[in-house]
């Protein structure tokens, strides 16, 4: 299982891919999926740094990760944004393109999911992460949101 630094590295890589996708309007729906995988790695870095949560997550899956977020008081704000992003990313991944085109506009993706849920998740995770990781994440996120 990767450690917190490796999760942050993966999150930063996914943020780079997300930036690339957002520049291509025709692939904008998949940017929700990328945004979710950024969030997943940031959340896993947070969980890695919490010994109690890390133990619960051992060998876990999406369900275990979401349950830790939902049932841990200090992660509540992360949980709300995370599960909405997760639900929508699954819709985009598993339903056919013709449906998802009418489902989400590029504007909604940017405002609701990138500037909204993803930004909120990263901001809410900051208190649990080292300063350097926060700076790196914020720097990449600022480029994407502007």
């Amino acid at each position: 299982m990767p450690n917190d630094s490796e999760h942050i590295k993966a999150a930063l890589h996914n943020l780079d891919v997300l930036k690339y996708l957002l520049e291509k309007p025709e692939f904008c729906d998949w940017s929700v999926v990328l945004a979710f995988y950024v969030a997943l790695h940031v959340v896993d870095a947070v969980i890695y740094r919490n010994p109690a949560a890390h133990r619960l997550r051992h060998g876990g899956n999406h369900q275990d990760r979401a349950n830790i977020l939902k049932q841990t008081k200090c992660y509540e704000k992360i949980a709300r944004n995370y599960i909405e992003l997760y639900r929508t990313s699954k819709t985009v991944r598993y339903l056919e393109g013709s449906i998802t085109i009418g489902f989400l506009s590029n504007e909604t993706i940017r405002t609701k999911f990138i500037k909204g849920h993803l930004t909120q998740i990263i901001k809410s995770c900051e208190q649990f992460l080292p300063d350097q990781a926060c700076q790196q994440l914020n720097s990449s996120l600022t480029v994407i949101c502007n």
Partner: protein, 177 residues
């Protein structure tokens, strides 16, 4: 019915109705066991003549009780969850086309197919409230549960989210309270 005096032994007490014996284990768990099960445990003890084995025989009988009790409690919680979800779905019926309760990743997954195609921010927020509410409810916190909303889609779309062996469909559209 004999009652052991040792604090290390299972305690059993005859109740005054329905042929039921009350049993309290050394760790404080309490069960009701049929006279028949308790008598069988004692009878096995008589045959073995081994004083240590009464506890073993009772423990075997208790294990069966424990499983029944746990199953009963889980069934009760599951029924409570079904009712809670049913109430929520009824209250949000105007936006819902179909709903399924299925299993996914070792937990329960509520699949809600909306009537509209366009992303509905308000509805998604309400679904998140439901999901969080269930996760924090002591009655349901041990049941791994999540929700998947889908925009309007045909069976090919929503069936890919439903386990083909275990899926329930909620029928709330024409329900009346």
């Amino acid at each position: 019915m004999a009652v052991s005096q040792s604090k290390n032994y299972v305690r059993i007490e005859a109740s005054n109705k329905d042929g039921i014996v009350f049993v309290e284990t050394t760790d404080g768990d309490r069960f009701f066991m049929s006279h028949e099960d308790a008598a069988r445990a004692c009878s096995n003890y008589q045959l073995s003549k081994d004083s240590d084995k009464l506890n073993i025989f009772l423990t075997d009988a208790l294990e069966a009780c424990r499983i029944r009790k746990r199953d009963d409690e889980q069934l009760k919680k599951f029924q409570l969850l079904l009712n809670k979800l049913g109430t929520w779905l009824f209250d949000h019926n105007e936006k819902i086309h179909k709903t399924f309760l299925t299993v996914c990743e070792g937990g329960l997954l509520l699949v809600i197919v909306r009537k509209e195609l366009k992303y509905d921010e308000e509805f998604e927020s309400q679904v998140t409230d439901l999901d969080m509410d269930i996760a924090k409810d002591p009655d349901f916190s041990e049941i791994p549960f999540s929700v998947q909303t889908l925009p309007r889609c045909d069976a090919d779309g929503y069936e890919s989210f439903c386990n083909f062996v275990w899926t329930l469909e909620y029928m709330t559209r024409n329900a009346k309270r």
